[in-house]
Symmetry: C2
């Protein structure tokens, strides 16, 4: 982000600009000219790095994956000793992240795939990789929690991990529709409650 | 839908075309020319009915609300005697509707709001009205089920009704990312399981 380095990368500036602009107005409404203006680079620089806007879209999804996965890898929810507590703490973090303005907390790849799934298979696949790889980071903890609690359910750790992303993506849509995060936060609470119910042995009295 | 009537409405043709085209490529990528071509009407007819593409967007959201609410009002899930069974049967219907091609089963207003929430407040509000009014149709049944089961939970019927829409909207995004409905259907199963857990008295042994 610093301008002081000898060679600030035009590519990185374009990718960071894409993160912002796509979250504000979507992928289709974002022109190459706007991306260049937001990044402060020339159109020549754009086409030096990307053959097309679609290629930028794929790179934006990959960039999103890299930056967010680095953030989640370092987050303190991993520090809980109990795997189920790690899963719950991940969900609590996702609720905490529903802060600031809508473009700040909504999802680049969820937005892009909504518009491009039929028209750009390469972008769709990059968005799928991003969402699915993130969901996979939860699977080991879910599986460990299932073993700890001797659960042998009809659902899989993979399907539950993806379901957390379904709830988050849907929560972003309701946040956008409502112009605020309140309902989204309540949905994340429902997700947390679901996880707690799933992982609570049915015959033990609950503490609520 | 018939061409045999004396005056097929150009407005209705445009709205029906918008339902199809927006679900395929999103709102921003859809041009007025494309809508006219898909509807088989002139650009003059378009601007006779709509001052702008945004005005068409608002009308498309309202049209979506009208057509889908008529369909849901007539659906047989209302026939169950038990209100909780009605809620579960609604969710089962939503799972059954995850059939055919992605543009056939995904949501016009969920797609539009994703792209336009910052740039077109009128479309955003129309999308919110559509999603929220549909969620409201579930509230009375959820409330009756809460009374039947003597639940006094920390969540409200309204928040749970909106959560069902969050899961569905998120499921559509995962369906688009994956190019198919399998994960979406599993998420609707998770929603159904959550509802069952919420409405099951905790100390009664479950039948699973």
């Amino acid at each position: 982000m610093t301008e002081a380095t000898a060679k600030p990368s035009a590519k990185l500036k374009l990718l960071d600009a894409a993160m912002s602009v796509i979250r504000i107005k979507g992928f289709s409404a974002t022109s190459v000219d706007e991306l260049c203006a937001a990044a402060g680079v020339t159109k020549g620089a754009f086409f030096h790095h990307f053959k097309s806007k679609d290629e930028l879209g794929v790179a934006a999804a990959d960039h999103w994956s890299e930056t967010t996965s680095a953030m989640f890898a370092k987050a303190p929810y991993h520090d809980h000793a109990d795997p189920f507590e790690r899963v719950l703490a991940y969900v609590a973090l996702r609720k905490d992240l529903l802060a600031g303005s809508l473009p700040e907390f909504t999802c680049v790849v969820g937005t892009m795939v909504q518009e491009t799934y039929e028209t750009s298979p390469a972008i769709r696949d990059a968005c799928d990789r991003s969402i699915s790889a993130h969901a996979e980071t939860l699977e080991a903890d879910i599986e460990a929690a299932m073993r700890d609690r001797h659960l042998r359910p009809e659902w899989t750790a993979k399907s539950l991990a993806l379901h957390t992303q379904v709830v988050l993506q849907g929560a972003f849509i309701l946040a956008k529709a409502k112009g605020g995060a309140e309902i989204a936060a309540e949905s994340v609470d429902h997700l947390s409650r679901y996880l707690t119910l799933l992982f609570s042995p049915p015959k033990v009295e609950r503490q609520s």
